[in-house]
């Protein structure tokens, strides 16, 4: 596999503000990479640096093996889909699509043909003569995508492209973008704050916080082995439960500070007496017969979506449990829950790093 985008030791400062801290990232040709994190984490800055809309302060940025640090956006041969779509309001759909070609001096007839081909694949054929203001949100989104794919760039950059769409359309466009990516054999970098989008669409997820890459890897790797508490809490929905705990005398159990019976067994050996945080995913907590469980917990709030029931306990440290089987649970009940030792995540009490 060849590397399409390589970042090494990249830093970005805005005055005294350190926006990107020592970014190391390499993106393979044909892969779909999601940059995910809370707002202000630097993911958009990183994307804009790739596009050349921001300059990086130190480090190397390579696209297709060429150093791009000081190359202006127009010479990087990348395409970008903006959050607001940034369609040119004074141009028709066709003119929007062919703009990049016309700048490069592609003959009119050829550009028109290219626009028609792309429009046919994205379902815009009937709309080529319209202006952006005459299109619906989903159609605008498609125009923005088509404008990017028409010139077969080295990489596609997406800046939260689905955040202006309603929920149903978003789910639909998610699949459409991924299908398009596969069909074109493109290299894509996708910025989102929605971890579900990142998990479902990407081959490689990069979780960022405060300008630092917290962890990167395949989606399930991040879910199964989060490197720290932040990633563990960010990936997965509903979010992981964090419970303060102390490793027991034998080093193979945790004394957990919630509920009545408070000892969970571990599948690995830890240093006795160490203060840690136990991470328990809501979907890994299972109902068991009374007396069989690890926890006995009073029920606080019960929310049912139909397919699953979300139970929040009435304990000092709230614990959320997701149960897919229907159970007659109501506020005030005492329930017994258990968790498999392999499903227990343990993080250091101070650093938050995975133990």
């Amino acid at each position: 596999m060849t590397k399409q985008i390589e970042l090494s030791g990249v830093n970005k400062y805005y005055g005294a503000f350190h926006a990107l801290k020592n970014i190391e990232l390499s993106i393979e040709k044909g892969s779909f990479v999601a940059l995910v994190g809370p707002s202000g984490c630097g993911k958009s800055t990183l994307l804009r640096s790739l596009a050349g809309l921001e300059s990086i302060s130190t480090g190397d940025l390579k696209i297709a093996g060429e150093l791009m640090n000081n190359v202006p956006p127009r010479k990087r041969d990348i395409a970008m889909v903006f959050q607001s779509y940034a369609l040119y309001p004074h141009m028709t759909v066709e003119q929007n699509l062919t703009y990049s070609l016309r700048i490069r001096g592609v003959p009119k007839a050829e550009a028109k043909k290219a626009a028609e081909e792309v429009a046919a694949t994205t379902g815009l054929s009937q709309l080529l003569g319209r202006y952006p203001r005459e299109l619906s949100g989903g159609q605008r989104q498609r125009v923005a995508m088509s404008r990017a794919i028409i010139r077969h760039p080295k990489a596609f950059l997406f800046d939260e492209p689905l955040s202006n769409l309603d929920a149903a359309l978003r789910v639909h466009m998610r699949k459409e973008i991924r299908t398009l990516h596969d069909r074109l054999g493109a290299t894509s970098v996708y910025v989102t704050h929605d971890q579900i989008e990142a998990m479902t669409m990407a081959d490689h997820v990069v979780v960022m916080k405060d300008g630092v890459i917290e962890q990167q890897g395949a989606p399930l790797e991040l879910y199964d082995r989060p490197a720290n508490k932040f990633v563990a809490g960010f990936i997965g929905s509903p979010a992981m439960n964090f419970v303060p705990a102390v490793v027991g005398e034998d080093g193979r159990s945790l004394a957990v500070d919630v509920g009545e019976r408070q000892t969970i067994t571990l599948d690995r050996q830890l240093q006795p007496g160490r203060r840690v945080t136990a991470g328990l995913r809501p979907e890994h907590l299972h109902f068991v017969e009374p007396g069989q469980g690890v926890f006995r917990l009073p029920v606080g709030i019960v929310e049912s979506t139909g397919s699953a029931t979300y139970i929040t306990t009435a304990t000092a440290t709230e614990v959320t449990i997701v149960e897919t089987a229907r159970r007659p649970v109501k506020t005030g009940d005492i329930i017994d829950v258990s968790i498999r030792p392999a499903d227990v995540h343990v993080f250091d009490g101070e650093t938050g790093l995975r133990v």
């Binding site: 596009a51 050349g52 809309l53 202006p72 956006p73 127009r74 990348i78 395409a79 970008m80 903006f82 959050q83 607001s84 940034a86 369609l87 040119y88 309001p89 004074h90 703009y99 990049s100 700048i103 490069r104 203001r133 404008r147 010139r151 950059l157």
Partner: protein, 275 residues
């Protein structure tokens, strides 16, 4: 009071105010059509009994209005061109960059707007005279007007540019255009309405400009219509009908432009003129 009654009352008040405000204009139009004796009749007549249309032709010929209006046009077009070419770039920069120096620049620009022309003319006159600019009096007036009206233009056009989303420019950059290309291809077409409206307002101002023209242009054949109108009036003037005819010929084209474009002007001033 019900809503309809209140609306009616407001409408009546608006009409009365408009009537008071527009009365001089009406008086100008009808006086131009009155005969010598009707002009001084007491009580005055509010509609000329025998409209004297010949007054217009007489004034146009005798005062050489063609030349005056031509000079006014030259000065107005010159100023608008100069202001537009220089002001658009200035407004764009002030709209896109935000720092202390831009704030200071904006403050200075607004300061310029505050100073009255009658105060500025003396230093301008002395300066121009030393540079030898008074040998090209119309050019000198164009430059003086440009300096005076530029702030107004820059402030209006800056607002227009600020309404053009920066993402559009970024999209153009990524699409393969240069900074300059993106400005001309994307930003300028979208700001066109705002620029056009501001230019029209500047044109109307410059077309009626008086202080600089009166002070700088000595040669009668180079003076604009505003100065010509002024020289028409002396301490013992009594040919009001001729003066009113002159004024009518002078302002009607501007009024016509304004009436035709007023919808665009108002919307151009209030919105960013986009979409």
């Amino acid at each position: 009071m019900s809503d309809t009654n209140r609306n009616r009352l407001m409408l009546v008040i608006a009409i009365v105010m408009a009537a008071i405000y527009l009365f001089p204009l009406y008086w100008m139009f009808i006086t131009a059509l009155k005969s010598g004796s009707e002009m001084f009749a007491t009580p005055p007549s509010f509609w000329p009994s025998e409209p004297q249309w010949a007054t217009y032709a007489f004034v146009w010929e005798s005062r050489g209005m063609g030349r005056y209006l031509w000079n006014s046009l030259v000065i107005a077009f010159g100023s608008v061109t100069l202001i537009t070419v220089l002001g658009v770039g200035c407004a764009y920069v002030l709209a896109r960059y935000r720092n202390v120096w831009v704030d200071i620049g904006l403050f200075l620009i607004l300061m310029l707007q505050v100073l009255p022309a009658s105060l500025m003319i003396t230093p301008i006159f002395v300066g121009f005279s030393q540079l030898g600019m008074l040998n090209y009096p119309r050019l000198a007036v164009i430059i003086a007007i440009a300096a005076k009206s530029m702030p107004f233009f820059v402030v209006l056009v800056r607002a227009t540019f600020m309404a053009v989303p920066q993402e559009l420019e970024e999209a153009a950059l990524v699409d393969g255009n240069s900074r300059v290309g993106a400005f001309f291809n994307i930003v300028l077409p979208l700001a066109r309405n705002g620029i056009l409206v501001s230019a029209i307002l500047i044109f109307m101002q410059a077309f009626g400009e008086f202080v600089y023209s009166k002070s700088i242009i000595q040669a009668v054949e180079l003076q604009p219509a505003s100065v010509g109108l002024n020289s028409f009036m002396g301490p013992n003037t009594n040919e009001w009908n001729n003066i009113m005819a002159y004024a009518t010929i002078y302002v009607t084209p501007i009024l016509a432009i304004f009436v035709l474009l007023q919808r665009r002007i108002v919307s151009g001033l209030t919105s960013g003129a986009i979409k």
